[in-house]
């Protein structure tokens, strides 16, 4: 066994898994609250990357230093993604809250197609170079062949985001309101919780995380185009289901498991069936453990 190689793949998978986890958190929160697969979540991530690209480009022209650009671009992207998430919810999901269960999903697919084409028309369908905004500090140089600064930042950010979210939901008033709404919306409303506000907030938080993901991942990969949201979104959703949808540590765990699976499969077998493997994993999990690794089984009320 070549351990050097194993660890290289391990850290590659860790980065990839953290990327999935960062996006999966948004999926899992929204699903937890209103049981909707927010199909357009991947597009919000893409919008975050694009917004950051535009801001970074503009600031770059005015000669700002890289770290300042990173922070400003990330903040602006978070604000805009939150706004997009909010608007998305108001237009495409809120009017459908009492509709039959297929309607919001179809609406979400429509929104996803709409947003992709909105970006094509407003900007471009080409790949755009994304500047590397994360400076590489000296002390990381010895492990540069395994991990660079942007990878470290991605892993740290998603771990912090997960921990912060878990604490938020467990201990704050709003977090408790979220849990209550997730359990039983009608009952929560009777108890004086403004469910609409809670749902909006969920979208805001999820979208903000997607924006952070968008900035970091685009900076890591070095390019963006209108289509990056689709495959990342599907993978992140797979991660969320894998970990147990609705569970925040589950999203993280699911992301990592998926990342490692893909990384090791590519490293030791072949990357030919990389996506097929991810989907097969999803199908298997749903068949044998529909509630995911950390999810709780729900009995159906008759």
């Amino acid at each position: 066994m070549d351990w050097q190689y194993f660890w290289e793949l391990f850290f590659g998978g860790l980065t990839r898994g953290s990327i999935y986890a960062l996006i999966a958190l948004g999926y899992t929160m929204v699903y937890g609250i209103i049981e909707l697969i927010n199909f357009a979540h991947g597009e919000v991530y893409m919008l975050g990357a694009f917004t950051a690209l535009i801001v970074a480009g503009a600031l770059g022209i005015y000669g700002f230093p890289a770290l300042a650009i990173l922070i400003i671009a990330a903040v602006v992207a978070v604000i805009y993604c939150a706004a997009y998430g909010l608007t998305l919810e108001k237009i495409a999901y809120k009017p459908l809250r009492d509709a039959q269960r297929l309607s919001p999903l179809i609406s979400a697919i429509g929104m996803s197609i709409f947003l992709q084409n909105y970006v094509i028309l407003a900007q471009t369908s080409d790949f755009m170079p994304f500047p590397n905004l994360v400076p590489q500090p000296e002390f990381l140089e010895p492990i540069a062949h395994i991990m660079g600064a942007s990878e470290v930042l991605i892993i740290v950010t998603s771990a912090v985001a997960m921990a912060a979210l878990t604490l938020f939901i467990k201990y704050t008033r709003m977090g408790k309101a979220m849990r209550a709404t997730a359990q039983n919306r009608k009952m929560a409303m009777l108890l004086g919780i403004d469910a609409d506000k809670v749902i909006s907030l969920t979208f805001v938080i999820g979208s903000s995380l997607a924006a952070v993901g968008g900035v970091l991942i685009a900076s890591h990969v070095g390019q963006v185009n209108f289509a990056i949201g689709f495959i990342a979104g599907i993978k992140a959703f797979t991660a969320a289901v894998l970990g147990g949808i609705g569970s925040i540590p589950g999203a993280m765990l699911g992301g990592l498991v998926l990342g490692w699976c893909e990384s090791f499969a590519t490293g030791y077998i072949s990357s030919d069936y990389e996506d097929a493997l991810a989907f097969a994993l999803l199908v298997l999990i749903l068949i044998f453990r529909p509630s995911g690794i950390l999810g709780k089984a729900k009995t159906q009320k008759v």
Partner: protein, 372 residues
């Protein structure tokens, strides 16, 4: 029954519109098929422009066989199902020759229709080797060299010029990229001078290629050959450099694109990519570019010079053949040399142009430079 009437109306209008050209003056109908809308329009529209410009020039000189040349464009969006529609349309409109199609898949789908109607098809951009090498389509010609020639050049360059023996061959799982990679693998193995240490497809659009990159490192490769387009190429090159791997990266025409340099930035430096020979010194090439700038106010896009050359070759062949009979046109294409924007060419038995080929380019100081 408003709907019914509407249908009849549409049908009637369609008949009227379709019928018009048929009653027009006796012309040589020159079909142009390719992606004129959709994602890949930027590959198809330059060909249509080239055909129009050549036709205009020829018409100004009195046309072909004393008749005016009429260009009929048809859009296929590079989709096979639409390509057959376009081909059917061109056949039913009475096209004598057709310039197109742009994408190999669309070309494959459309070819049987032209073959059956006995119409000469010449593509400026379909590089799939099987189109000519299978021998199925005597009516097919092209003014661009096929992928296997590109792979041959890439392999020879990597082994002989760069002196690398262990080669990792990657592709993007697409028609074009995988074809290139498979030929490269075959040539390396046949040549016996090098070995393929890794043959792997990467998934387009994946968020991260670090596993593949680590695999390249682990394979002990001395050089990487990649078949595919620039988005994946730039991601792989960037990750290779990030992981501090300084291997030579040899790729194909899909990567020899300025967007690649733009996206990959400083990591693009030193990357090799093969592409059509530099013909910018040819007078006909200059003439073609000037005509485009004059007419459309912009530099032409991809495959313009190949399409311009194909238009010239086709019209010349009709003139030399002295008729619109396709057997005679094909014969003329195979026997008569013609000066074009890609050089002096004629076509071999299978339909590939003799006299066109590839050169290797390298990114130096943010620009592709031809290596002599």
């Amino acid at each position: 029954m408003r709907k019914g009437w509407f249908k009849v109306l549409v049908a009637g209008l369609a008949v009227a519109v379709m019928a018009c050209p048929a009653f027009a003056a006796d012309t040589i109908k020159f079909g142009v098929a390719g992606a004129h809308s959709g994602d890949l329009a930027s590959y198809g529209l330059p060909s249509a422009n080239a055909a129009k410009l050549v036709a205009k020039m020829v018409n100004a000189k009195g046309g072909v066989l004393g008749k005016q040349v009429e260009v009929i464009p048809q859009d296929d969006q590079c989709k096979p199902e639409l390509a057959t529609n376009a081909a059917t349309k061109l056949v039913s409109d009475g096209a004598v020759v057709v310039l197109g199609h742009i994408c190999s898949g669309a070309t494959k789908a459309a070819l049987p229709i032209y073959k059956e109607a006995n119409i000469v098809l010449m593509s400026p951009s379909a590089t799939n080797p099987a189109l000519t090498q299978s021998g199925d389509y005597p009516n097919f010609f092209r003014t661009i060299a096929s992928d296997d020639q590109q792979a041959r050049l890439g392999v020879d360059f990597t082994i002989d010029k760069l002196g690398k023996k262990k080669i990792a061959v990657l592709h993007d799982k697409g028609d074009y990229g995988k074809g290139y990679a498979e030929y490269a693998k075959q040539f390396i193995e046949e040549g016996g001078k090098g070995t393929v240490v890794l043959f792997e497809g990467v998934t387009p659009g994946a968020v991260d290629y670090s596993a593949v990159v680590q695999k390249i490192r682990n394979s002990g490769a001395e050089a990487v050959m990649f078949g595919g387009y620039h988005p994946e190429a730039s991601k792989i090159v960037q990750q290779l450099r990030k992981k501090r791997m300084d291997l030579p990266f040899v790729s194909d025409d899909g990567v020899k694109d300025d967007t690649f340099i733009k996206v990959a930035g400083k990591d693009a430096e030193g990357v090799y990519a093969s592409s059509s020979r530099d013909v910018s010194s040819l007078p006909l090439y200059k003439e073609a570019i000037e005509a485009h700038v004059k007419e459309f106010g912009a530099e032409p896009g991809a495959f313009y010079k190949e399409a311009y050359a194909a238009s010239l070759a086709l019209l010349n062949a009709i003139e030399k053949a002295g008729s619109t009979d396709s057997a005679k046109i094909m014969n003329a294409l195979r026997t008569e040399f013609v000066e074009t924007s890609v050089g002096k060419i004629k076509f071999d038995k299978r339909g590939d142009a003799e006299g066109v080929g590839f050169s290797m380019y390298q990114v130096k100081n943010g620009k592709y430079v031809e290596l002599k």
